[in-house]
Structures are given as C-alpha cells and as structure tokens.
Point group: C2
Chain length 343, copies 2
DNA sequence: ATAAAATATTGACGCGCGTTAAAATTTTTT
DNA sequence: AAAAAATTTTAACGCGCGTCAATATTTTAT
C-alpha cells in the first residue's frame, strides 16, 4: 500500500487513471460501471485506501443511504435483538443504519425524530413508545420521512406497520392453558405503555368468553419500563393477599412474568405444571431471558425473523417507490407457543 | 410559524436580518455571539424553524461534534445501560453520539471502526470485545482518532482507560463468602471473551492464597456471548456429576450465575444463605436482571455512574487537549457488595 | 464625549462531491 | 469492417456552509 494519502476523489481519479465522474458512479453503485473499470478501481482502492467523504457525498444527494432505526427501550434485550437483526439486513443491502433508543421517554423520542430529520435518511424503521408517544409529532415526521412502524402500531401513521398478531399470542396461550388445566387469569399493568398490551387484554377477554369462561383481569400499579419490578411488586401483593381466583396466571408479557416468578419463589410458592405445583404461570414474547427463569417460562414467541425481515423489506419497497406505497399495509405475524416448565 | 420553507443559511440570514457568518458562528457556539444578536436569532428560529444542513456543516470542519460509542454486545442490558448513560452525557454536552454494537463479532468491530473513521468523530468511547478484538486494527484506529477505552482494557491502546477494579470485585465477594461460610470455588468460562474475566480469576487465586485457602477454579466449555446458556450447561454438568468441592460457588459474572441458578433450580438444589440451603452462589457485575433471579443474586456492583461519568469526562479532556493527553491514564473504580438471597 | 476594544457585516473563496452536456472512446451488433 | 449502442471522459457548475480579510458598527472603558 502506497504511503501517499489521497485526500479527495479527484486525486484518487488521477492515481487510478479513471475519470472522476466514473469514480463517483462507482461509489454510488459499483455495478453501474463496466467490469474492466470496476476491477481497475478496486485495484487502485487496494493500493491507496481512499474513501469518499461521506459529508460531501450526502450533501447534494436528494436521498442518502442512511436508515434510522428507533426502538423504545434498548435496555430491553428483546428490542436489542430486533434492532441487531434489522441493522444487519440494512448493512447487507448497502445502507448505513443508525440506532436510536427513546429510553422510554416521550421527549427523547421527539428529539430523535428531530435529529433523524436532519440526517435526511432514505427511510426509518420506527418502534414507537406507544401511549407515551407524541402522536402529532410522529404524524408530522412520517409525512416528511418514509417510515415503517414496527412492533407497536399507531393507527394510520407511517407508510406501513409490521408486527406480531396479539390475538394469535393470546389465543395460543389461553387455549393451551385451558386445555391443560384451569382457565387463566390475566396479569398486567394498570396503564400499559404499549398498545400491544391493550390488544392482548382484549384478546384474552374475547377468547375466554368464547370458551365460556369468566375473564379475570388483574391490574397492578406501576409506571414506566421497569416491567420486572412492576411484576414483582404486583405479584408480591397479590400473593400476599391471596386474592388469586385461579391457579393459572397469564402475564401480559415475559418481563412481568420474570418479576412474578421471582415473587412466587420468594413466597415459597411452587410454580410449574407438575401436580405438586401450586401455580402455573405463562406469558408472551419469548424474551431472551425467559429460558432462564425458575422455572423456565412457558410463553408464546414472536416470529422475530419474520417481523424484522418484513419490516426491512417493506421499507426497501417504500424507498424504491419514492417514499410512497399504494396504501398503508398492516402485516401481523402469527406467534408460536413455547412450552417450558412454568405452565 | 411562517409557511415559507427556508432552504439554506443565506436565506435564513436574510429573513432574520443578521449576516450569514454571524449565523454560522451562532450555530457553532451560541455563546460566541452577543446576547442581543442571540435573542434575535432565536426569535427568527421560532418563526421559521430552519436547521443547518449537517452534511455541509461537517464537510469542512476539521472536527465534527460527533462522538462514537462502541460496545461489544448491546443485547446485554449491562452494556445497554452504560451506553444509555454515556449517550445522555454526550448530548448534554452538545455532542452528537452514535451508538454501535460489535455484537460479539471481530469483523463487525473492525467494520465499525472503519465506519467511524469516515464519520470524523471528535472522539470515541470504546468498549472492545477483548480477546476477540483485532489488536492491530484497534491500535491503528486509536492513533488516528481520539479514543477512550472503557470496561475492557487493551493495554497500551487508546488515550485512557476507565473501568472497574476487578481485584476489588473479587476481594469483596471472596472475603464476604469466607466470612459467612465456606471458601468459594470459582466458576468461569474456559476461554473468557473478556480480559476482566482473567483478572478476576487471578484475583480470586491470589486472595484465596492470601487467606490460606486452596483456590479451586472450575472452567466450563462454551464460546461466544451466550453466557447464561454456557453457565446453565456448565452447571448442569457439574451438578450432575456432583464434582463440586465446595458448597459455595463464585461465578465470574452475573450472566453465568443466571444460568447456574437456572440449572440448580432445575436440579432441585436449594440455593441461598439459609441453613437448609445446599449451595451458595454469588457473582460479579450487578446485572440488571440479577435482582430477579431465584433466589435473588448476591453480587458485586460496578459503580456504573462513576465509570460512565469518568469515561465521558476523560474523552472531553482529550478532545479539548486536541486529541492528546499528557500520558495514558487508567482509572479503576471500586466495586460495592450487594447482599441478596443467594449467598 | 472620546478612544479603545469587541463584535458584526460585506464580499469572496474553498471544501469534496453530485450531476450534467457534449465529445471521445469502447463495446456490441450486423 | 462498419454502424449502432453503451460507456467513459472532459469541462464545468452548484450544493450549503466554514472561514477569512477588510470594513463598519456597536459596546465598553477612560
């Protein structure tokens, strides 16, 4: 490798013996130049390790190759995993993804959208906070920037939504629990942060009624995103007061269940599907940690792969379509029951 | 708010009645213009919501306001929390942080550094993979870009290192365990990904010897970053074969312990510090989930706040010093014992 | 009020690259 | 081998902003 530092495209053009516009074309799309030229450029690249200045590149292009990924809470490994998956796919497609987390804060979510705007991204994959989101700010953003919502839907906002079918989650868990024991009560936060929680509650009620059982929704107090803690405190109270009408508890999500199981353990209450257990606990999401709860958590899994795949594909279609799709599509993927020891 | 869209700084200068160079100065540092001018600019900003083009801004500036944050594995909530903390501090200081995760991959780590280079960041906060890192690539990167390492040290690389004192972790856990029961064996991965693990093992051995006990290191197989699973499998084997020489197990880190506790539970082995328990388990890190293990995990906590604070402060000094510090500093913060139910 | 210091304005250039039109070259077709 | 098609080269402009020097204006000190 030559020691001379190349500082701009013109210089690189002259050392490689190829004209600057052609070099420029190459960097925008290597397949747009003839193979002979391409190999010559790539040989020169080996020699001199020049890289175009991304700021100059993006300054006039109407569309950058940037993609924004926004999740509500990155400390939740569930979102970290989804983000990672999406990120990889964007990179593979030649985009430059940037990851943002709203950290559960409405203001931060707005600020992120603001920053994102000045990044002039080709598109954005956005999992909103939900209830805490500033709907009007997001709506305005989505009008200006091609955006696909995922995980959590804001009706009518964004060019498309990709997520999991909450009804399918609850159908599978409730039907399994009923089939294998007593009908479950439903354990959730009083004011859930996320619209999925509301859909799950509604699904629970409707499925229970369809099966001819009385729905029993237990709402526990707590704000924010410390779900494990909220589940733990709620369970401690419920278990102490011994107000549980059913020996089967279906938690709205795994993180609540993690807290619930910790409380049950502390109370010395045996959880599981063996005859000598006092309680069965199941939940939804198949959180990365739910394999390691005690007992391991019976849950219903998202089709992670499918959701992240489809989100990215939809965004690419949107980008190729110049930021518009014929109509707003909503794709919901089926969930899959994961039988473990807790129920 | 006026409906006319302002498309560049010259236009904004004319509508606000202030010259373009002054506007430019304002955006680079609002305090560098007179108060009267500042309020006039800010009034105009309210009126017209203009924002400078970040690409044009960064193209000629020798130093951008970007800061890169690189962590080895974002799906680990420990790193997610640290990253979030650091991110907030950078924003508060007027920088533009961008978060990257190596996802445990050597190649990805190199690619990230490569991308980071073209972002021309003012500085980088970097927690390397450790053993899997490509030392020479990182060394080269750190020569070009002002970088502070945190969490995991690569000796001699980067302008400074900020982390936790592994000796202090192990001193506290071992001394507590010895004081309150039998001396612990040490449970770890055979080939740890992270230099901290090696330091902890060495500390364990030296502290045990100092206290007059025979060190007993149990190494379990497994590669990668699925620590819980590795801990689980290792514990299943150890507990099945009943080869544990001590009734007290000190895990190298909490994530291994989470797997260990899951295995113990599955085996029906009672863990805790009560007299009727068969085993005590403790670990290090105070992982966000260790409050919710069964039983809750006795561990030793990082001083998160201090580490992220100092990392950021050190980077700011480095940036203000033009990318050079007088000498490479290594700051290690003390750890704090967290007594819970498992030991 | 006047002088000195600080700050703002005017006018202009440069950064590195995208992009375009016309001319030159290469490749493909016939 | 000649004509047609595709690609590259040459030359030049523009993007939005940083920055600088000379000048004008405002603020502070005397």
């Amino acid at each position: 490798m030559s020691e001379s530092k190349i500082k701009n495209m013109a210089e690189f053009a002259s050392v490689s013996g190829i004209s600057r516009p052609t070099i420029s074309k190459y960097f925008n799309d290597p397949s747009s130049v003839r193979a002979t030229i391409r190999t010559r450029i790539e040989a020169a690249l080996e020699e001199h390790d020049y890289r175009p200045n991304i700021y100059a590149m993006n300054q006039n292009r109407r569309l950058t190759k940037n993609i924004g990924i926004v999740v509500p809470y990155l400390s939740d490994p569930f979102f970290a995993e989804i983000a990672r998956n999406i990120e990889q796919r964007c990179i593979a497609a030649g985009f430059w993804p940037t990851l943002f987390s709203s950290h559960g804060s409405r203001d931060l979510e707005c600020n992120i959208l603001d920053s994102l705007r000045s990044l002039k991204p080709a598109g954005v994959l956005f999992a909103p906070l939900g209830r805490a989101s500033d709907r009007s700010v997001i709506e305005k953003f989505c009008k200006d920037v091609p955006t696909v919502l995922f995980d959590s839907d804001l009706e009518g906002i964004g060019a498309a939504f990709v997520g999991s079918d909450n009804f399918s989650f609850v159908a599978q868990s409730v039907e399994y629990l009923v089939r294998s024991g007593a009908p479950p009560c439903f354990f959730e936060m009083r004011t859930p942060a996320n619209p999925n929680a509301n859909k799950r509650r509604k699904a629970y009620i409707s499925i229970m009624e369809r099966l001819g059982f009385e729905p029993d929704v237990i709402k526990v107090d707590g704000e924010g995103w410390a779900f494990e803690d909220i589940g733990y405190r709620g369970a401690m109270r419920v278990l102490s007061e011994d107000t549980l009408a059913s020996d089967t508890v279906l938690c709205s999500n795994d993180r609540l269940a993690i807290g619930f199981l910790a409380a049950a353990f502390e109370k010395g209450i045996r959880v599981g599907r063996e005859p000598d257990s006092a309680l069965r606990v199941a939940a939804h999401d198949d959180h990365p940690f739910s394999r390691f709860t005690c007992p391991s958590l019976t849950t219903v899994a998202h089709d992670y792969e499918a959701v992240s795949n489809r989100s990215v594909e939809t965004l690419f279609e949107l980008i190729e379509g110049g930021g518009r799709l014929t109509s707003r599509t909503e794709k919901l993927f089926e969930a899959r029951l994961i039988l473990r020891a807790s129920a």
